[in-house]
Amino acid sequence: MTPSDAAAKIAVAFPSAITAENEFRGEKTLVLDAPALRGVCRFAKEALGFDYLVDISSVDHFGDEPRFEVVYEISSIGHGAHLRLKIPVSEDACEAPTVTDIWPTANWHEREVYDMMGIRFTDHPDLRRILMWEGYPYHPLRKDFPLEGRPSDAPGVAFSDVAPLAGGPFVTVPTDGTTQAREPRARHAGELPRPGKLIEDP
């Protein structure tokens, strides 16, 4: 079974669920309505053999509406096809349905998405933070959260403070220039790297 076959079968079974479809270099992506996600996932696992949930990730389209996107990468041990499912999540609701009962491995993936991006998964059996500590008030992977962090204090558990960036963050850009051109320099979001110029005058 190819990813396109799987997408076609999902389209037949759930005619109104798919809002957009995209294929890039053999990678099939389906954008779904959030309420239809669980049905599609169960169908993909039980009827199409997608028995392996590779990863769940989330994207922050800061400034757009809906702001977030949750991405499910599913695959099959049997026929090897890979399919990507996406659902939009609005900032107001900030909720997505859990798939923990379909693929148990989703448990920790969803906890990570909750911890880093703040999207809550309804009916998740154990929705706690997984990387940051209980009591940390922010979701650090959101675009409006600064890299250097914000001060917080959960007494007896952990505290955090703003890190001194000293003009940074210091990042590298891809270049085939000298060591001097390649070394990390202070650059900010929005500044486009200009590898050609950097090679000329480091």
Partner: protein, 173 residues
């Protein structure tokens, strides 16, 4: 020889008595038997292990007894990136170590946060516990750790705890 007086000079004892200050003797013993608490949190811990292995052999300086119990150790070697999540555990282990105790911040991360200028990383373990010796490097070579250990030994040799206690006692009287 049978009528030797007990208060006469005994040549058998000569050479076995050393006159010194109590502080100097205690410092000598402490500095040459530093039992480390290896707080290995990142790649610096690998260099710490190398320093303990045969080639660099930290036991030449009396610090080979790595204690994984804070109650038996003298010096905490913070080797690696201290995240905020780990920081209070490090502090708690430090609090469980008996006095006198010392701390070596090994490498850039433990000293200053290193390259991790981010929301998740404590910017130097000296925000939480007092540090005696900082070692630069990312990670430092085992020689650098040994050098730091020798610096700490030198520092311990300059301490005068007993003299201070004596002085405080006389002032109290």
């Amino acid at each position: 020889m049978s009528d030797l007086s007990p208060i006469a000079y005994d040549s058998k004892i000569e050479g076995n008595i050393i006159f010194t200050k109590l502080d100097a003797a205690i410092n000598w013993m402490r500095s040459n038997s530093l039992w480390p608490m290896p707080m290995g949190l990142a790649c610096c811990a690998i260099e710490l292990m190398a320093a303990g292995a045969a080639r660099y052999d930290i036991s030449r300086f009396g610090a080979e007894v790595m204690r994984f119990s804070p109650r038996q150790s003298d010096v905490m070697i913070v080797a690696g990136t201290v995240t905020y999540k780990m920081a209070l555990s490090v502090k708690r282990i430090w609090d469980q170590m008996p006095e006198p105790k010392w701390c070596i911040a090994m490498g850039a991360c433990a000293s200053s946060g290193g390259m991790y200028r981010s929301y998740a990383v404590l910017q130097g373990i000296d925000h939480l516990i007092p540090v005696d010796v900082y070692i630069s490097g990312c990670p430092p070579r085992p020689e650098a750790l040994l050098d730091g250990l020798m610096k700490l030994q030198k520092k311990i040799m300059g301490e005068h705890a007993i003299a201070d206690q004596k002085k405080a006692l006389f002032e109290a009287l």
